[in-house]
Symmetry: C2
Subunit: 191 residues, 2 copies
DNA sequence: ATTTTAAGATTACAAATATCATCTAAAGGA
DNA sequence: TCCTTTAGATGATATTTGTAATCTTAAAAT
């Protein structure tokens, strides 16, 4: 287990980011140790600092990596209606039962938004950028502030958070339905 | 520092809950140690287990205590318009700049909702109850599921979470405005 | 009044964890 | 080919943390 090629190092780096992006979303960044991440990436904890200067740095990088993945997933979705179809498809997917339990691949802002705000400067910065990027996906009008996109994003984040707290599937379903109704309303009746 | 009267014990218990409810909201329950809570309550960590069986138990109890405080604060607000005025006042207060930084007294669901879902059975149960109680405050119609209240609550939670991630006051303000516009829309145009 | 109980302080302890030092062997440059 | 560098493994360290044992002393119970 000695020195590996530059390409191998990049693959390792990627595996660390993949593992962290999943584990942080599933269990929170504070409840996940560096060793756990490295282990999930198929390595021991020792090599970690060849890739990141600190855990805080990893939190920021893994969060951005997670957002990158989600945004790419949306954009590669082919719909006949173009951007509007993409948007509607994402809203439906976001407010689905599948997204409820699939924390590890789910919305990074919903899973980590609250703790990012107290995780240091770099993670906070990534959170700020993610807010704008994720809302951009939902943009309707040419409004430069994209307030509509922000509002729909906020409604969806809150909905999935509430639905994940439900104790039975019926309550979770009801919450998701409330979110869907609300999102449709915000789309149709905006200002 | 010996045995105290029953009344004194209750006062201590209350101080622990107050401290935990604030510190958990400010820094997260995972990032806050039992010793920190006890210290903020004016005691050493030794006596903690006379009051709670485990930290997880404290997380659940402190979260409920926080929700109790918020709900009580809403209900004692006197408005000329009765319950509708109460509701509007709470929405305005929730989506205010003051609520942005006042994490320690702010909405427990926004601060802790995501981590409650992974903090064990008792905390999860409190989260589920809180969802219903907090949405109840926002109820408009006689809809037994209170989907409108749920949607408005979700929108507000997401809005404050996004606004807290903003890097400058302007972006935070824009996000709050988006939430206010959305909330008004959900109130006026529901189904 | 005497005995029992228990709140909170002090101390102890075992587990977890972020970070660092060292070692290895192979990669990349000379 | 030789030399320097470095990815990742192994192991160590210092700190933090949840929990428990023990002690003191006054409150309750008898």
């Amino acid at each position: 287990m000695p020195r590996m090629s530059e390409a191998d190092k990049q693959r390792s780096h990627r595996r660390i980011l993949d593992a962290a992006a999943r584990l942080f979303r599933e269990n929170g960044s504070e409840a996940t140790s560096v060793a756990e991440v490295m282990n999930a990436a198929g390595m021991t904890h020792g090599g970690f600092y060849r890739h990141f200067g600190s855990k805080e740095e990893l939190v920021a990088a893994a969060f951005r990596h997670a957002v990158d993945g989600v945004v790419a997933g949306i954009e590669e979705e082919e719909t006949p209606e173009g951007r509007a179809g993409e948007r509607d498809a994402y809203i439906a997917k976001y407010l689905s039962e599948a997204h409820l339990k699939d924390l590890g691949k789910g919305c990074p802002l919903a899973a980590l938004g609250a703790e990012l705000a107290r995780a240091g400067q770099a993670p906070l910065h990534e959170g700020a950028e993610a807010s704008i990027r994720m809302a951009e996906v939902l943009r309707h009008s040419a409004d430069p502030d994209n307030t509509q996109g922000l509002a729909i994003m906020a409604l969806m984040m809150g909905t999935i958070t509430l639905a994940r707290l439900a104790e039975n599937p019926e309550d979770a379903h009801r919450t998701l339905e409330a979110g869907k109704t609300g999102a449709a309303l915000l789309q149709e009746n905006w200002k």
